[in-house]
């Protein structure tokens, strides 16, 4: 279908650009690990409390790292007015939205896959078997974050103080994702499976589905003047 073909095209272009310059990936990765150390010193956690605080610490680190990625999202399009080149072409605006969202998801997942095991080692946690399920929930949360983040990064593209405005506008809207992801992660850490956090998981899935569809429909007005 045309939408998917164009999304693949744009995504491949973004990935080639990123692998060639490796700006966002490296900065996001080091920022993620930096946050772990900062949290460790800031909270000075006694071992028992660590497992209880892990979801919040992890998810906050991912959220701020993701925001870094979002502010860089349309950088490639900024030089030589390449955004105009894309708007000029018979490109479906929804494809640009999907490509940019997937791009930021890939970056964040790459960071998460490295940061979570690192977190386990640094805080020498025992529950290694929970890590895969944890990454799965983090993935769902990342989708919600990137979908809304890409939408709002398009909205604030032409605003002054864009980097400050984006988090200010984005974070209040992220409350459902933040609460849902952290509750699910806690449930996984406590008793190994989703258990009583199932309604939170449904909320997270609902959030993702709603805003992916809204994004594809509405991105047209976001990016065009």
């Amino acid at each position: 279908m045309k939408l998917l073909r164009q999304t693949y095209l744009l995504l491949r272009k973004d990935l080639v650009l990123e692998l060639r310059r490796r700006e966002s990936l490296l900065t996001m990765f080091f920022f993620g690990t930096l946050l772990l150390f900062v949290f460790h010193f800031a909270f000075d956690l006694v071992p028992e409390k660590v497992t209880e605080m892990t979801p919040a610490l992890l998810w906050l680190a991912f959220l701020f790292t993701g925001t870094l990625g979002l502010t860089q999202l349309f950088e490639a399009e900024r030089t030589n007015h390449c955004l105009d080149a894309l708007l000029l072409s018979p490109m479906d605006r929804g494809a640009l939205f999907l490509a940019k969202t997937c791009f930021n998801i890939i970056l964040m997942v790459a960071v998460e896959i490295v940061v979570v095991p690192l977190f386990w080692i640094l805080f020498n946690l025992r529950s290694w078997e929970a890590v895969p399920l944890l990454l799965g929930v983090a993935f769902l949360g990342t989708i919600g974050f990137c979908v809304l983040g890409t939408l709002l990064s398009g909205v604030t593209l032409k605003a002054r103080a864009r980097e400050l405005l984006l988090p200010l506008v984005l974070f209040p809207l992220m409350v459902p994702v933040i609460l849902a992801t952290i509750r699910c992660m806690e449930a996984i850490l406590r008793n190994g499976n989703m258990g009583d956090a199932l309604p939170w998981l449904r909320l997270l899935l609902g959030f993702d589905v709603i805003f992916v569809t809204v994004g594809i429909l509405i991105f047209d007005w976001t990016i065009d003047v």
Binding site: Q6, L9, K13, V16, L17, R20, R21, A76, T79, N80, H81, C82, D84, A85, L86, L87, L88, S89, P90, M91, D92, D220, W221, D224, V225
Partner: protein, 241 residues
Amino acid sequence: MPSGLALQLTARDLSKAYGLRWALRDLNLDLVPGECVALLGPNGAGKTTLLKLLAGLIYPTRGDIRLNGVQLSRSSTELRSTIGFLTPGEHLYENLTVRENLDFFTALYNKNHSLVAIARALEEVELTNWSQEYVSALSSGMKFRLSIAKWQLLEVGLLLLDEPYGVLDGSGINLLEAFLKSQCEKGNVVVIASHHIARVLQLCTRALILHLGKLTFDEPRRQPWDSFERAFADFLPHGGP
């Protein structure tokens, strides 16, 4: 709508305002296939605004633009495959190589050109041995030649150019004019906004003069063109082609 098809463009009382200023007011324009139109006028007359409106990059505050009767609007993605916008040094990804840029845009415009076709296009603009270089390594003249190759491959029905002559050397200018002539012969419409009146007048079949957002002159070219000289004289102190 295959791009080679003859393209009829009509603009009816086209107006565009930026905040408190009218950049363009009540402009009526009809372009027929094969026309090569020179868009002249002092800075800030609204030339770039008109080009962006025709390209569908910005939308009019009043009035509309129709391509073959179909209105150019936000949702007309199909229509956009027939519109090209060529500005020196723009619409190219700096960190992609010359080849990757061409591959990306030809795929985006759904043009499945063979490798041979792309190689031939590069050869025509003498960029063959630069094809693996990054665009950022190219000089502005070479970037412009790459844009020519790009739009040649994308086969658009309407080609808009904004100040093309600024960056070109001798051979570049011949290349550009040969390219534009071939586009007009193929029945495409070309609109060039420029300050190089001498060169652009020889090329064009029709001249438009924009002043303070209003179309003050619109006539096909003919040899003793005294009406053009009169109209253009009051803009430039030295006046005349």
